[in-house]
Symmetry: C2
Subunit: 141 residues, 2 copies
């Protein structure tokens, strides 16, 4: 029998909030743990590992469905890691894309803010650029 950890402790240790843990159980991302006599969830070391894996993956921006796949792979160390590689690579492409887009956006916002007359709206670059798409140099996404 493993040591029993309460949901509060596993929350603290993993950095995942209590309601979020219950939510993960509900959507089948985290297996439903055993219960104590008083009906409380009782986690063990493996659950904590799994939760940490999930939190870390979420921090890195992976979607729940991707994490589902990554977790399955994690559980089967003898399989090919092709899928994991594909998920991470695809994600990397997305992230690079997003950075490029946000950088263009940053320049446009800088142009807006720097060009602001700090006077009346009439002569304000912020509103001006928003109103007239032709004046904007940002065409990202």
């Amino acid at each position: 029998m493993q040591q029993a950890i309460t949901i509060g402790s596993v929350s603290q240790a993993s950095g995942v909030k209590v309601p979020t843990i219950r939510y993960y159980e509900q959507i089948g991302l985290l297996p439903a743990p055993s219960r104590t006599e008083g009906n409380r969830r009782s986690y063990d070391h493996r659950d904590l590992e799994r939760l940490t894996f999930i939190r870390h993956s979420r921090e890195l921006g992976f979607e729940i469905d991707e994490i589902r796949t990554l977790l399955t792979l994690h559980d089967r160390p003898d399989q090919s890691c092709e899928d994991a590689d594909a998920i991470a690579s695809k994600h990397l492409v997305d992230v690079k894309q997003k950075i490029a887009s946000l950088t263009a956006l940053q320049h446009e916002l800088e142009r807006m803010v720097e060009g602001c007359s700090h006077g009346r709206v009439e002569t304000c670059k912020v509103i001006d650029i928003l109103a007239d798409h032709g004046k904007c140099r940002f065409h990202g996404e």
Copy 2:
């Protein structure tokens, strides 16, 4: 009387999808237009301008509530543009933050993908780094 534009045309011209236009009307971002005899929405040039302003603002990542304020400012050109400037500046800070965070993330993902053995999960850096937070260099927002 202004020229009447159908929701389909105003959608095409503004680049905002038809259901989204109706949604904007519902949440009070776009004023409810007049209707034809057959109960169809009838837009004019000013509506198109407003929608374009909204789409452009959304593309630049502003939230609906921010756009509400920006639109009000746009409608009152004699007011101070202090508020618009504040919204754009705050947004700029957020964007910069996001870029920094995503760049850190990019490096971590690159490390994962480059370190992938392309073999079995057992020796895969992707899964390895996800499983062990200590091996990760990304601690961003």
